[in-house]
């Protein structure tokens, strides 16, 4: 186990090394490693069942991994000190909160635990909802509840925000509202956000870094800008519609609709041309297609 | 978390050792068989009623079976009313003329069960007027206690009758009574022919006879040795007025307390343990039969009316542990814990210690667990805990282990 120098501890809020976890005999992931830089917005992307919530649970100390290490602010995440927990805001999947409390009760409840509590941040958000202070959470809509959960986390003023699938059950307006507030929050100094979502389009201009999980393995870890800058989609037409191009070093993924083929690759146009020629594939009209983050995500992980 | 896991293991072993044997024996209860012992003045021998759920069998000491009618005529004192009705009551036995009033008077029946000895009732008693001049006894309007003094609580007002309390306390003090009372024995019931009050043991172990005669205290130090360590006194209040009470000591000696200056007449008993056995004394004009009833047998002694032992008999039958179910149980259950038992009116932890047979199942359980230790990769520290537990508590330990292993640390 390598000793962390103080600078490392400061610059990485989360360090995950060789994390492996099983549920019974079912492998969830093996040797998962990544770091989250202080002040960055980090996205954990993956289809359902690739271990996003499992990772979040391990990170919050609600699951002991089979092997590997998970450090948060330099502490083992399984036994975080109260002081460190106070620096971490955690949004549980589905915006779960105490539904038996009302707007005012829940604010008073949490304010007792966090020294940096910002009551105004919470009530500012609440004032935008069409709810009274004495309305119970259980009598609110899913969107309203998500705003309560968000308001509580923002009032906590944590250094690290962990959001497990914030978009779950929210319509487009509330999702946008959520992202707007998070963006505002992230502008402050040294605030780090770790987010998972299954709706990628919301995160496009929001994330700094991302990790993409596949079943049992990591597909990619890099800054989003770099990903969108280097991962490309090429389209062309072929004469022989029975041609298939298996994924490999150059081609990460390919799709064919009749005689139109799309390939996804980190390689330049020149390298792709060379690859197609070397395979003796007859093609015409090769051109680059611009992609959103969601397109790129699907391009990398496939539609199935 | 080791301590919490050990706590859970212990709780599972505890519940298993109580409830598994309890269910087992509920499913394997045997038929109840009883023997009542009598002594026939005609045969000059013991005679028995052996009964099961179907029938009563009448057997004499030589093993000969009798009909009910024969049996009744062999015990004329016990059955004098029946024999009188059918006109077969003998006029005399052994040359002694039989007067039915005498027969009735001399028939006594005393039964002392272990649960009665251990039972401590609410220490509040009614003191009857024992010379009211009325046929029936009447319930007092107050109840007494003997703590730092003797106090009467008037029921209607729930207050203390100071005057009466003082009078009785003074009477006790005058006899040298040391407060508070250790034990008070008597029959707080109006359904008895007359009242002899109470026998009270004081702090120094001295025995006092206390009753109320014409509204005044009657209080006497009996002179019964204070080092006798009395377990129980059964006040008899029998018209025969031969003895006030039957007394059982902690050392299992049995005495009658005589009307003659509280003299003690020792009752011969054999192998009697008042914490386990029931003592039965059946008396008639000629004899006293003293029976000690045990779980799987009895012994009986017959004396004449001068307390001289004439004969004895005993029988032992195979206990529950000898039956198929009992043998299986002796292997399967390393020990059993019961919270109730017949010989005590109280809830407790009644432990039946293990026998040698249980060792076999413990060893098998231990071998089984080795398989699981490997299969589930149980860490060494826990293997030690589980092995000790299973060795000590066999089947229960194995059950506890199989439940608790799920709560184990992962072998990290």
């Amino acid at each position: 186990m390598d000793k962390k120098t103080p600078e490392n501890v400061v610059s990485n809020v989360v360090e995950i090394n060789n994390l492996t976890h099983y549920y019974g005999s079912r492998l969830i992931f093996e040797n998962l490693s990544f770091n989250i830089r202080e002040g960055s917005i980090f996205g954990l992307l993956g289809k359902n069942g690739t271990g996003k919530t499992t990772t979040i649970n391990i990170l919050n100390g609600f699951l002991r991994p089979k092997s590997g290490q998970c450090l948060m602010f330099g502490e083992d995440s399984y036994s975080l000190s109260p002081a460190t927990k106070a620096r971490v805001g955690f949004l549980i999947e589905g915006h779960v909160q105490y539904s038996f409390m009302n707007i005012r009760q829940i604010e008073r409840y949490y304010s007792a635990f966090y020294p940096r509590w910002k009551k105004e941040a919470y009530y500012e958000l609440m004032s935008k909802l069409a709810v009274t202070e004495h309305q119970k959470l259980s009598k609110m809509s899913c969107g309203q509840r998500s705003q309560v959960a968000l308001g509580l986390i923002l009032a906590q003023d944590p250094d690290l925000l962990i959001l497990d699938d914030f978009s779950m059950g929210l319509d487009a307006g509330y999702r946008r509202l959520f992202i707007d507030y998070l963006t505002e929050y992230a502008k402050a100094e040294k605030k780090t956000i770790f987010i998972t979502s299954h709706i990628i389009q919301d995160l496009e201009n929001f994330l700094d870094d991302c990790i993409i999980l596949d079943y049992r393995s990591v597909l990619l870890t890099m800054p989003v800008k770099e990903f969108l800058g280097t991962f490309k989609q090429y389209k062309f037409e072929v004469a022989d519609p029975s041609i298939t191009i298996p994924p490999g070093h150059i081609v990460k993924n390919s799709e064919r609709v009749k005689n139109k083929i799309s390939i996804y690759s980190f390689s330049s146009e020149g390298e792709v041309t060379q690859f197609l020629n070397s395979r003796g594939i007859q093609y015409s009209g090769l051109h680059l297609v611009p992609m959103s983050l969601e397109d790129a995500f699907i391009g990398l992980t496939g539609k199935y | 978390m080791l301590s919490a896991r050990i706590a859970l293991l212990m709780l599972i072993v505890l519940t298993a050792s109580i409830f598994i044997p309890q269910f087992y024996w509920k499913a394997n209860t045997r038929e109840n068989k009883r023997t009542n012992v009598f002594y026939s003045p005609i045969l000059k021998d013991f005679i028995f009623i052996k009964s099961d759920v179907r029938e009563n069998y009448y057997v004499d000491g030589k093993g000969k079976f009798h009909t009910r009618e024969e049996f009744e005529s062999l015990l004329p004192f016990l059955n004098y009313r029946q024999l009188t009705l059918s006109g077969t009551m003998p006029d005399s036995i052994d040359g002694i003329r039989i007067v039915s009033k005498e027969v009735n008077l001399n028939n006594i029946n005393i039964r002392v069960q272990p649960a009665i000895i251990q039972y401590r009732s609410l220490q509040l008693f009614p003191l009857f007027e024992s010379a009211s001049g009325r046929v029936r006894l009447e319930l007092s309007t107050d109840f007494f206690r003997i703590k730092e003094r003797m106090e009467f609580v008037t029921s209607l007002t729930n207050t203390i009758n100071e005057e009466k309390s003082r009078t009785f306390t003074d009477a006790l003090v005058n006899e040298g009574f040391t407060f508070p009372a250790k034990a008070i024995y008597g029959n707080p019931s109006t359904k008895k022919p007359f009242d002899e009050g109470y026998f009270v043991i004081d702090q120094k172990g001295k025995v006092y006879h206390l009753k109320m005669v014409k509204g005044r205290p009657f209080c006497k130090e009996t002179g019964i040795p204070s080092d006798l360590d009395i377990a129980y006194i059964s006040v008899t209040e029998n018209e025969l007025r031969e003895s006030y009470a039957l007394m059982v000591t902690q050392t299992n000696d049995v005495f009658f307390i005589s009307y003659d200056h509280y003299g003690l007449n020792k009752v011969p008993v054999k192998d009697y343990d008042h914490t386990k056995h029931t003592l039965l004394i059946k008396g008639d004009l000629f004899y006293r039969v003293i029976t000690v009833q045990k779980e799987n047998g009895y012994n009986a002694i017959v004396t004449d009316r001068r307390n001289i032992v004439l004969a004895d008999t005993s029988e032992q039958w195979p206990g529950e542990e000898m039956t198929m179910a009992g043998v299986i149980a002796s292997y399967v259950f390393p020990f059993t814990l019961a919270i109730e038992k017949e010989s005590s009116p109280y809830i407790g932890a009644y432990f039946t210690p293990p026998g040698v047979n249980a060792l076999l199942v413990s060893v098998i359980a231990l071998l089984c667990s080795v398989y699981y230790f490997r299969k589930y990769k149980i860490p060494t520290r826990n293997v030690i805990v589980y092995s000790v537990l299973i060795a000590c508590s066999g089947l229960y330990g194995l059950i506890a282990f199989l439940v608790v292993k799920d709560f184990d640390d992962d072998p990290r």
């Binding site: 109260p82 971490v88 | 109580i18 109840f143 809830i347």
Partner: protein, 222 residues
């Protein structure tokens, strides 16, 4: 901080506690009227000799009240925590986890003790009004196992609810049922006279199992 935690627990159980309080008061009133009617119908000495001879537990309506309260408070307190894993919210608070668990248990136990105290005080007053001191003494030792049984039932509800795996929940329920039944054996006065300490120890040992369940929840063992 402590008051915030207590407030959270109180919000969950306030209605069930109010309901239980009504049940307790009703049972105590019934006990009072039954006893007072007996003394109106029969001579006082006749009532008392019957009570002594047959060990009439005139407060038998209280027998399962603490048990009912333990189950009620336990279920209302822990069902919301188990539902959607809300316990994660509590355990994420910046307080040592075992303190959070102890505090949750303590809140419920204090409430239960208060209910039992109400029973004990009122039944004592009723007893003192009608009956000699001996009845009071025996009433205390007769009812204490019932109160302990209620507390133990509460502890096992907590253990069962916090435990994350259904299979283990069933196993723990069976063990808990067995343990709790030990507090309600027999009838009559004072029959736990010689074993009251045994069952008190049993209640305390049961309490330590809470930490095992909490630990399992934390480890995420299913």
């Amino acid at each position: 901080m402590i008051s915030a935690l207590i407030m959270k627990e109180w919000l969950k159980v306030k209605w069930v506690t109010a309901g239980l309080l009504i049940v307790h008061i009703a049972a105590l009133l019934l006990t009072y009227y039954d006893l007072s009617n007996l003394f109106k119908s029969y001579k006082a000495n006749e009532v008392i000799i019957q009570f002594i001879t047959f060990e009439v537990v005139y407060y038998s309506k209280l027998k399962y009240l603490a048990l009912l309260s333990g189950l009620g408070i336990g279920i209302f307190q822990y069902f919301p925590e188990l539902n959607q894993s809300r316990l994660k919210l509590t355990l994420h608070l910046p307080v040592k986890e075992h303190l959070l668990i102890i505090q949750m248990a303590a809140t419920g136990i204090v409430l239960l003790c208060l209910l039992c105290l109400i029973d004990a005080v009122i039944i004592s007053l009723i007893t003192a009004l009608f009956l000699p001191r001996e009845f009071f003494d025996s009433m205390i030792t007769t009812t204490v196992p019932w109160y302990l049984g209620g507390l133990t039932a509460y502890v096992w509800v907590m253990v069962v609810f916090i435990e994350p795996s259904w299979r283990k929940r069933i196993l723990l329920s069976v063990v808990g049922l067995g343990i709790v039944s030990l507090f309600y054996a027999g009838s009559g006065f004072n029959i736990y006279a010689y074993s009251i300490w045994c069952i008190a120890v049993l209640a305390i040992i049961s309490g330590s199992v809470i930490f095992l369940s909490a630990y399992n929840f934390k480890r995420g063992i299913m």
